[in-house]
Subunit: 333 residues, 2 copies
């Protein structure tokens, strides 16, 4: 099969289209002939050497959709030929509250979806939501389970509540926008790009503020006319403090990333006096994945930024690294 | 009536026994003839000028128990003569999740319980738990509602779980110890005093570590043989970070104070990757107060450190400020 293989740490020249042996399913496994894959920031972080446990060569990619081409021993043969999306979480473990230490994600250490075929446990197969195109289906898995867990399982977002999504544009944030709207919430966003604030409005956000301007938290509260019930953030750093500041008393901050690093001078007094809830979230167990897919069965659609052919995975990486996207960046296979 | 009146900010000389007019109940109010009061760190912070909105003269004291001596218009006269404990929270508001901005606490800005009599809304009266002495009843209100909310309403502590209570010795921490034991949890503690670790063990703690020693978090995990499900902390500062470090994945940190100030370099990554819950908590609404009292109806007893006569409130303050107590410091009236 053809695959995009990462051969070393560094720039996109290390992503090369190569011929690789077709995968063979072991017991309990299936091989999926992929029709589309999608990028995640994780892929870029891995390429740039910012992940522990990197090995080469590796086929990146956590998101994929396609048809079941082959099944191994002990797998229900009725899966053969079915159209599926792949749950990229392996070994979550028995406790839905937190992943087991053996937890890992498709695309490192095991080969991922930047390829014509991928081998995965049959337990990770889910029927493709009928209304979605291949590109849309491939845009769903990692970002949507992360956004769903953050909003639903962790924040328990209710219809009529106001949610602030910081740093709109990436896969999880844009998916959180459409999920929160679908749940009946009012959505506000922040971004460093006015064009993304505009794009968010066109996808249903009530409004947004540019976080590169001073006092964005103050501006936001003035524009909303109140304070958000929920903040969904993956920036960390000083944004973590700002989130604690803007939240309504009793509000929830769901943190699912820290691209800006640790948070300094966190006002613990603000957390207890405002009775805040700071809820860590990453990925999600099979139960979250299945519940998330139901939303797509009932008409939800992910936001696609741009579709590249598999062979142009390097260009797709360049686009993600530039940070200009609004929605998921997809590879057509 | 006689009362201990605070006349200015500073040392305990500003606490003076004075004759003051007997309080008169207004509509919806009652006057309680107090039999005992109790100290809280809040009282010491106020005396030292570390609270906003201080006014003089003020009678300190949030905790009290006694007999209803008089009721105002619109109050059920059957309260007259009844033995009561006082809920010190006023104007919590309609949302149990967080207090209203008009929330305040008995003992500032309204006169408190370091006195022979106190005037309070009749809604704040609760029958005294029968098994408790006057001193024990007075030791209950502020510390117990705070500990109850932290452990039960916020952490949802379950039987069989392990809870770490940092800085054992004060009223909330020692009350949290007895409540957590009553709920069937295993309790570990930290303190800077080995004598308090010993006292905690004698009150049912499984064990504890001295937090003045390096690597106490590591020592604690080694001694427990696992990680705590819940941490209850009022230190903040670096203890906040240590708490995030020691917790089990999916665990809960309830923060109800920050005597060490803000927390620096908070590892947001640790919060999301471990799927932690950081839950702010302070005091509690009437529903928490009523639920907490039920525990004392069924045999629970607060830990009393020492009882002083009302006239020696200054000595009681000196003891609290020295930080040598284990349990509540009570004033007999």
């Amino acid at each position: 099969m053809r695959a995009v293989v990462l051969n070393g740490v560094g720039d996109v020249d290390h992503l090369r289209v190569e011929e690789r042996p077709d995968p063979i399913p072991g017991p309990g496994e299936a091989v999926v002939r992929l029709r589309a894959a999608a990028l995640n920031h994780r892929d870029v972080f891995i390429r740039k050497g910012q992940y522990a446990g990197i090995k080469f060569p590796i086929i990146l990619g956590s998101d994929g959709a396609g048809e079941v081409a082959e099944v191994g021993p002990d797998v229900d043969v009725s899966w053969l030929g079915r159209e599926v999306v792949i749950d990229p979480s392996f070994n979550w473990g028995p406790d839905d509250r937190a992943q087991h230490s053996a937890f890992h994600i498709l695309g490192l250490p095991v080969d991922g979806t930047y390829a014509e075929m991928v081998r995965i446990p049959a337990a990770n197969l889910h029927p493709r939501p009928r209304a979605l195109s291949w590109e849309e289906a491939a845009a769903v898995p990692l970002a949507s389970v992360t956004a769903y867990r953050a909003l639903v399982t962790r924040a328990r977002l209710q219809a009529g509540e106001t949610v602030l999504i910081t740093g709109i544009g990436g896969g999880v944030a844009t998916t959180a926008l459409v999920i929160a709207k679908r749940l009946g919430a009012t959505v506000w966003v922040t971004s460093g790009h006015d064009s993304k604030l505009k794009a968010a409005r066109s996808h249903g956000a009530e409004g947004g503020v540019n976080h590169r301007k001073d006092d964005w938290a103050k501006t936001l509260i003035a524009e909303i006319g109140s304070r958000p019930d929920v903040v969904i953030d993956s920036a960390g750093g000083d944004t973590f403090n700002k989130a604690l500041d803007v939240l309504k008393p009793g509000g929830r901050l769901v943190t699912y990333g820290s691209t800006l690093g640790p948070a300094d001078r966190v006002e613990v007094r603000r957390i207890f006096w405002k009775q805040l809830n700071v809820l860590g979230s990453t990925m999600g167990p099979p139960s979250d994945f299945a519940a998330m897919l139901k939303l797509y069965e009932s008409g939800l659609r992910p936001i696609i930024d741009k579709v590249f052919p598999l062979e142009q995975a390097s260009d797709a990486h360049i686009r993600m690294e530039a940070g200009d996207q609004f929605g998921k960046i997809v590879l057509r296979i």
